[in-house]
């Protein structure tokens, strides 16, 4: 296979670059090692917030790209129909000694070009966050911060990229880079060699390994684990903004935040790991996250019953401490887009613009397409906003809208079928596109139904349907098979 641009990695960074490039008349291929886009580590599990951009040290790439990305998301999320709420953030100082840090952050924000930052105190602070720890003395309010779902964003970006001509190859893992005369010529994969004039390494946690394949070994990616808990939608309204404590040296601290879907998320902690696949949660981690959350919103302490799930994500923390986005003299034709830690989700659209500029400067002829379609039709979810009239209309056109499969999130059969038509092949793929199984019962009721619909629509046996690819089969054995086949293999 041959292409002009090959993007390695189908996370938020890779899909944003693919979508940006799809505006131009150029052949683009994106490869993703997992069974679906957004299935890798960082994109599927992070805090799901848009940062305003006051945290990053002025002069760094992150400081430059975050505010730019933040403002780009308004139009992008609207064009792609990705749920997005600009709810603003608050950094809460819980003691007088922390107030100077807020002032420092304002100064950073000013230098980074962040608009609207101000300190709120007293009545105003508690009017904004009635459940905030009563000891709070002041808060840094950033009106431009917001929440959006990272996996839905990546899926939407990939769908729109595909719609505009990008090829996306799943379960395709880069195993080597072919170098010739100081130039990166091709990427070897488990599905054959792909020749490309330009290779863009957006391999997330594994970007250092892909970079090493191209002979560049100046940095390493440390998987920095963060654990989270998600609370039931019953608690919606307990917090109104993205609520941070005063940041520490290693992280922005454990936040409590409404999600774009109306749950409450608390986390993350921050621990550097060895293993890039270690997505385990721990009991110490859970306590750490909960204690962090209770410091901000103490009423959560009595609502442990409202936790519906916990998970861990890994941030791709570069040893250089900043985003690494650049081409190389040697090998030519290879661009690293590595170490995209927080605020990677916020920065993604700005990173994509930057990569396109780099490609132009590297000599790639990019002519804008006449027929680029910036809009992506969403999977219509009538109950997301409790839109009963719409639900009634849709059901009369397609009765499958009248069949609610996921009872907690009110996801209909029509939405699940739509998700499968768009490329979902697994239970998690359906979940990330529709929220079926993301509610309070965590798939207890809907899993058997969704498995059946996947099997029927995709024409695969029920036994072969997986949670997220590989060996993660859900119903491996038809009844009586074990009895007929003996007790143990």
């Amino acid at each position: 296979m041959e292409t002009s641009v090959l993007i390695i990695g189908g996370g938020i960074t890779g899909t944003a670059i693919a979508r940006e490039l799809s505006k131009y008349d150029v052949k683009v291929v994106l490869i993703e090692k997992e069974a679906d886009v957004a299935f890798g580590g960082p994109t599927k599990a992070n805090t799901a917030i848009l940062h305003a951009g006051y945290d990053d040290k002025p002069g760094t790439l992150a400081a430059e790209l975050c505010p730019r990305g933040n403002s780009l998301w308004s139009k992008l999320a609207s064009n792609l129909s990705v749920p997005f709420k600009r709810i603003g953030s608050l950094v809460a100082a819980l003691e007088d000694e922390e107030v100077p840090v807020l002032k420092e952050l304002i100064e950073r924000g000013r230098r980074n070009g962040v608009q609207g930052l101000r300190i709120v105190k007293g009545e105003e602070l508690f009017e904004m966050e009635p459940n905030l720890n009563k000891q709070a003395v002041a808060g840094l309010y950033a009106p431009t911060a917001g929440v959006l779902s990272p996996y839905e964003a990546a899926i939407a970006l990939s769908e729109n990229a595909k719609q505009n001509g990008v090829s996306i190859l799943l379960e395709t893992r880069a195993t080597g880079v072919i170098l010739e005369d100081g130039e990166a010529k091709a990427v070897q994969t488990n599905n054959g060699t792909i020749y490309a004039q330009n290779i863009v390494n957006a391999a997330g946690l594994f970007a250092d390994e892909v970079s090493f394949m191209a002979g560049i070994s100046k940095f390493r990616i440390i998987p920095r684990k963060g654990e989270y808990v998600i609370y039931d939608k019953d608690l919606s309204g307990i917090v109104n903004h993205v609520l941070f404590p005063v940041p520490t040296l290693v992280s922005k601290g454990i936040t409590v935040t409404p999600t774009v879907d109306g749950n409450v998320i608390a986390g993350p902690n921050a621990h550097d790991m060895e293993d890039k696949n270690d997505l385990t949660t721990t009991s110490d981690g859970l306590e750490e996250v909960l204690n962090g959350a209770y410091r901000l919103i103490s009423v959560l302490e009595s609502r442990r019953d409202a936790i519906i799930t916990g998970f861990a994500g890994l941030r791709p923390q570069p040893t250089t401490e900043d985003f690494i986005i650049k081409p190389y003299r040697e090998p030519r034709g290879f661009i690293n887009v590595a170490g995209i830690k927080s605020p990677g989700l916020t920065s993604a659209p700005a990173i994509a613009e930057m990569v396109v500029d780099i490609l132009k400067r590297e000599g790639l002829a990019l002519r804008e397409k006449d027929d680029f379609d910036p809009f992506r039709k969403p999977i219509f979810h009538p109950m997301r906003d409790f839109h009963l009239i719409k639900m009634g209309e849709l059901t009369s056109q397609d009765p499958r809208y009248g069949h609610i499969v996921c009872r907690c999130e009110y996801v209909t059969e029509a939405e699940i079928v739509d998700a499968l038509r768009r490329g979902a092949t697994t239970l998690d793929g359906v979940k990330y596109r529709t929220r079926a199984g993301m509610g309070r019962c965590q798939g207890g009721f809907c899993t058997p139904h969704v498995v059946r619909i996947i099997s029927r629509e995709l024409g695969v046996p029920i036994e072969e349907v997986t949670k997220n690819g590989g060996e993660s089969r859900i119903l491996p054995h038809p009844a009586k098979q074990l009895l007929l086949g003996g007790r143990k293999e």
Binding site: D234, L388, T395, P399, Y410, P448, K467, G469, L482, R487
Partner: protein, 413 residues
């Protein structure tokens, strides 16, 4: 959108809903409508293919499908209308529901009275925050039961069961009978969570029961590979150095049930934090006038026979209410659970007529004395958390109740 009126709308077509609907119809309400989200009536019972149902109500030992078939037949014989695969989206305090299904589309239904019979759901792995990975092969016991007994799939061949609730014990036996290896049942408490008779499921198949243990880590990247369990101390906390790791490909959770009261909340029905269900009076009426409730949506029952009785009680009373024959009680005495009594249902009584209270205890006890108010003492030879404790308030005992509006139901620990 379809708009229509009914006498009584029953939300849920499981054991409670069917009993309520048939009782309402038999008591003179012609227009009774059952809304059920599954494609069949019966709730959880069609998948409970073991015996043990009906010993109290029918004085017979029936399977779940046999037990519920009798009520389903009665529903059809009485000509009660049922809408299946119908999801109720909204409920107001004025007994108005919004529901949707494939054939009718969206419906707005106004009822004279509503009976809440939505049942309960299982606690998930997330709610427990069990540390570890998140591979395929972690299911709740009820989901596993449905997969095996309705869908025809065995979700794994080496199984560890967490929690010794009744469904967990029964599923241990079901897995064993399907040829799977059941590595054990792990229970954090020092005593089993299920009924004594279900413990035989383990002894019959030589399945180990790990009492006083909890799961501390789930291993496996794509599919479950093992679970680490640990002995726990008196506070239920895992003890260092007391771990062992059990290989398995499937984890089944039977760790508790939660009444499903999302619709009750929408209608503004007052809930009891201990039961997780609506606060009800002795007529099974909730805090919202004309909204009644019965079965596991009120509190998690031990036996379906009790659910049926409670359903019939709520159906009869809702029917009386629709006909204008059930005035609100003159006196409202609140009952408050104390000591070893975890909860008591109904939470509100009139004190005017004899009735049976149902309660659950926190810990097992022998020769227990339950005190209702200052003067009434009810003795029980043995009480266990797994079994509902019935407290009969006979006419003679009611005379001792006293004049207070707030009465404790307690047991010394």
């Amino acid at each position: 959108m379809i708009k229509r009126k009914s006498g009584i709308v029953v939300l849920g077509g499981g054991a409670a809903g069917l009993a309520a609907a048939t009782a309402a119809k038999e008591n003179g309400t012609d227009s009774v409508l059952i809304l059920e989200r599954n494609k069949d009536l019966g709730g959880i019972l069609p998948q409970c293919i073991h015996t043990g149902f009906g010993l109290h109500y029918f004085k017979e030992n029936l399977t779940g499908p046999e037990y519920i078939a009798r009520f389903i037949k009665k529903v059809y014989d009485l000509g009660i209308e049922c809408k299946l695969e119908t999801m109720v989206l909204d409920l107001t305090c004025r007994s108005e529901t919004v529901a949707v299904n494939q054939s009718d589309g969206l419906m707005r239904l106004q009822a004279g009275a509503i009976i809440l019979a939505m049942g309960c759901r299982e606690k998930s792995r997330g709610a427990l925050c069990i540390p570890g990975t998140r591979p395929a092969g972690i299911l709740t016991a009820g989901t596993a039961q449905r997969l095996m007994d309705i869908e025809g799939y065995v979700p794994g061949k080496r199984v560890l069961i967490l929690g010794s609730g009744d469904v967990g014990l029964i599923m241990a036996r079901r897995f064993a009978m399907e040829g799977a290896e059941v590595e054990g049942v792990v229970e954090v408490m020092a005593y089993p969570g299920g009924l004594d008779r279900n413990l035989q499921c383990l002894s019959d198949f030589g399945i180990p029961l790990y009492l006083g243990h909890s799961a501390t880590f789930i291993h496996g990247s794509e599919r479950v590979e093992a679970v680490t369990i640990s002995r726990v101390d008196d506070q239920g906390q895992p003890m260092a150095g007391k771990e062992e790791t059990i290989e398995c490909d499937t984890v089944i959770l039977s760790v508790g049930l939660i009444p499903e009261n999302e619709l009750s909340r929408k209608a503004g029905v007052k809930l009891d934090l201990k039961t997780g269900g609506p606060v009800v009076d002795e007529n099974m009426e909730t805090s919202v006038e004309n909204i009644f409730a019965c079965g596991n949506v009120v509190h998690v029952h031990d036996l379906v026979d009790h659910v049926t009785q409670e359903g019939e009680l709520s159906g009869r009373n809702a029917s009386k209410r629709v006909r204008g024959e059930l005035p609100p009680p003159k006196r409202r005495i609140s009952l408050r659970a104390e000591g070893n009594i975890r909860y008591v249902v109904p939470q509100i009584i009139s004190g005017e007529r004899p009735l049976t209270l149902y309660s659950r205890v926190k810990r097992p006890a022998f020769n227990a004395e339950i005190k209702v108010g200052q003067n009434i003492v009810v003795r029980k030879r043995v009480v266990k958390p797994a079994e509902l404790v019935d407290i009969d308030l006979t006419a003679r005992r009611l005379k001792e109740l006293g004049k207070e509006e707030d009465i404790s139901v307690g047991m010394d620990t």
